[in-house]
């Protein structure tokens, strides 16, 4: 008796729970909730998460999810239309754009930079490097810390004959792409032998997993040199090198110097905003920096979703930029904001502009 009673009670509990869930779902529907899904680059993820939470406070009926699965994944997902927007550090290649089912626009959101960090005992001031010296260190041509070409830029008496140990990223990463893109621009040797890639075949050195892996190996081993993201270096107070830019000035990596690099390249930035700004001209420009992009279809299928996406992007490149600095990203220069506005305005649904 009691057994069957208990079953009935369980049943009624399950039933009411189901009813409650159904009601909740209906409620959600009546509030006109719009959901967007994005995926891609890991580098801007902290900023995008901040954007989503801030934008969510202003627009409670909008729910946007961003999954940081990597730039490669972001491109694949937007091509497959499984997400409403993708995100990538490197702009998509011509072939990738051609194989996409529709025309994609690149909206730059913020800028990042790659810095040279090292572990060298007894140096009093930040090291300075000329572009060709960095390339030759990573090519394995300069092997000692007291090489005359390193000494030429650094008046450090403590530079010894110790072997230089190079540390690079082990996994594919946008950071490696920006760094090798820079090296390919400043060294023809690098361009021919290695090239620019997220995971190139490194001529020398050992691979560390992630920014934290590279930093760990550099901190642990004396006489090492490597590269990490600017944000990571600042947060962990790593020693960073000054790099000679295209104008011949040694520039310390900073948010301002990165924005300056973008501003200096604005005149030569093509209409579709797919551009590499490494080795930028400009007296104060830091030479190893890059944009990160959000990717969206120019012709949106769903007008409501499209409108939401366009509003979110507009908010991002205007109000959203003020969150960039705290998270160690460089905000877009004004010229590029204007041009990104035009890109956002070009997004349509059924042929009608969404803004």
């Amino acid at each position: 008796m009691s057994f069957s009673k208990r079953i009935t009670r369980t049943k009624s509990i399950v039933f009411s729970a189901m009813m409650a869930l159904t009601l909740a779902a209906c409620n959600g529907g009546t509030r006109n909730e719009v959901r967007l899904q994005g995926a891609g680059a890991t580098f801007p993820n902290p900023l995008y998460q901040k954007w989503l939470s801030e934008y969510g406070k202003l627009n409670p009926n909008v729910k946007i999810d961003y999954q940081s699965i990597g730039s490669g994944g972001g491109i694949k997902q937007i091509q497959a239309r499984t997400v409403d927007f993708g995100a990538s550090d490197a702009p998509m290649t011509d072939t990738e754009l051609k194989t996409s089912p529709g025309e994609l626009v690149h909206i730059p959101t913020v800028l990042g930079a790659v810095v040279i960090t090292y572990n060298l005992q007894g140096v009093s001031k930040p090291l300075r490097f000329s572009p060709d010296v960095i390339a030759d260190i990573f090519l394995g041509k300069i092997t000692k810390w007291n090489d005359p070409r390193i000494k030429a830029d650094n008046a450090e008496p403590t530079l010894t004959a110790a072997d230089i140990a190079v540390v690079h990223r082990a996994e594919s990463s946008g950071t490696s792409f920006v760094f090798t893109d820079y090296l390919a621009k400043v060294s023809t040797d690098w361009k021919q032998k290695v090239g620019a890639d997220k995971a190139p075949q490194w001529p020398v050195g050992q691979g560390g997993k992630g920014n934290e892996g590279v930093t760990g190996q550099i901190k642990q081993q004396p006489n090492t040199i490597g590269y990490v993201e600017l944000a990571y270096a600042v947060q962990n107070k790593l020693p960073v090198a000054l790099i000679k830019n295209a104008s011949g000035n040694f520039v310390e990596p900073s948010i301002e110097a990165v924005t300056a690099a973008a501003a200096a390249s604005a005149a030569t930035t093509p209409e579709d905003l797919r551009v590499s700004i490494t080795d930028a001209a400009g007296a104060t420009a830091y030479p190893i920096s890059s944009y990160t992009y959000i990717l969206a279809y120019k012709a949106q299928i769903d007008a409501v979703k499209g409108k939401t996406l366009v509003d979110f992007l507009w908010w991002g490149i205007h109000d959203g930029e003020k969150f960039a600095k705290d998270l160690q990203y460089a905000p877009l220069p004004d010229e590029i904001v204007k041009r990104a506005e035009a890109k956002i305005n070009s997004i349509t649904a059924s042929g009608k502009p969404l803004r």
């Binding site: 994944g73 990738e96 082990a170 890639d197 997220k198 995971a199 075949q201 691979g207 560390g208 997993k209």
Partner: protein, 317 residues
């Protein structure tokens, strides 16, 4: 009662028939999953199999920029790091297990057993971080200079000492598989009937001789434990990638960076966009599958031969 049901369950019990069918289904599912995995890996790597053929297995170059891919350096790194791991961990694990079962005082045996179990369950990324910050530095400062000084005439211990490389990868794997192997060996040894020990002692055997009898009795189980450890060593990704240096090169020196199959897949899969690149990475997965299969088969074969031998010795002793 129908004929088929009688055939399924000779006792004619319906419950038995259902049970039998369920178990058969579970076993079949396992086969299906393995089959489906091989099929999926093979079909997704057709592009690189067609392009590189057998050259993929012997190629040493891994260059995504030029679209040139070869797996040999990764196969070498995987096998070599796992071998180093077993070389260190098997004797160590046997020692731990023998101590816990036969020699440890009661107040020590229980906490130690618990500790071994905890170590076996520790996530591998924890080992990896500890590997970078503690183990690599320790090997660089103390172990590698020692090896270079006394065994530097061997090509194995030559070249610059960085603390990051094949040796460190092997050592961290050894540390990771030791708890697993020793936990299983401990269970195997405690399952050996006490009559065996008593018989050996009654014949006047020393503690060491008794241990040998017990070991011989547990040999198949011990071998199983080693294979289990080997499986973890071959497939381990996170911890190894943090200390092995991730460089697809085959070097005679254990101090030099190396790379494993599992690590390169984990490191490069998320960002690979070119079709041939992705296909090559999937083929590495297929190779990892086959390497695991072949190594397991060899291990089982060796076990089979060894156990035949040792059981004989154990019985005559």
């Amino acid at each position: 009662m129908s004929d088929w049901r009688r055939r399924l369950s000779p006792t004619g019990n319906a419950g038995d028939a259902v049970f039998r069918a369920l178990m058969f289904g579970a076993a079949l599912l396992l086969l299906l999953i393995v089959g489906a995995m091989i099929l999926a890996l093979a079909s997704h790597s057709t592009l690189s199999i067609r392009k590189f053929g057998f050259g993929f297995l012997t190629g040493r170059e891994w260059n995504p920029v030029k679209g040139q891919f070869g797996a040999l350096a990764f196969i070498y790194g995987t096998v070599a790091s796992s071998l180093i791991a077993l070389l260190i961990s098997v004797p160590l694990s046997l020692g731990i297990a023998i101590f816990l079962v036969a020699q440890a005082p009661h107040f020590l045996a229980r906490p130690l057993t618990f500790l071994v179990a905890v170590l076996a369950a520790l996530p591998s990324v924890v080992y990896g971080v500890w590997g970078i910050f503690v183990l690599a530095a320790f090997l660089r400062v103390h172990v590698e200079p020692f090896l270079a000084r006394w065994f530097g005439w061997l090509p194995l211990f030559q070249g610059p000492i960085t603390g990051i490389g094949l040796l460190t990868g092997g050592v961290i794997l050894a540390i990771m598989v030791t708890p697993i192997i020793s936990a299983v060996v401990r269970d195997v040894l405690s399952a050996v009937p006490n009559t065996q020990r008593e018989a050996a002692l009654a014949l006047g055997a020393t503690k060491w001789e008794t241990t040998r009898v017990v070991l011989a009795n547990g040999a198949p189980g011990i071998a199983g434990a080693v294979i289990l450890g080997l499986g973890r060593a071959i497939g381990e990704t996170m911890a190894v990638t943090m200390v092995i240096g991730n460089r697809p090169e085959i070097s005679a020196s254990l101090f030099q960076p190396s790379y494993t199959l599992a690590s390169v897949i984990a490191n490069e899969f998320t960002e690979a966009t070119a079709d041939i690149y992705l296909s090559s990475l999937v083929e590495l997965g297929l190779i990892l599958f086959l390497v695991t299969f072949v190594v397991n088969a060899i291990a089982r074969l060796m076990v089979w031969r060894v156990t035949r031998g040792t059981v004989g010795v154990g019985m005559t002793a």
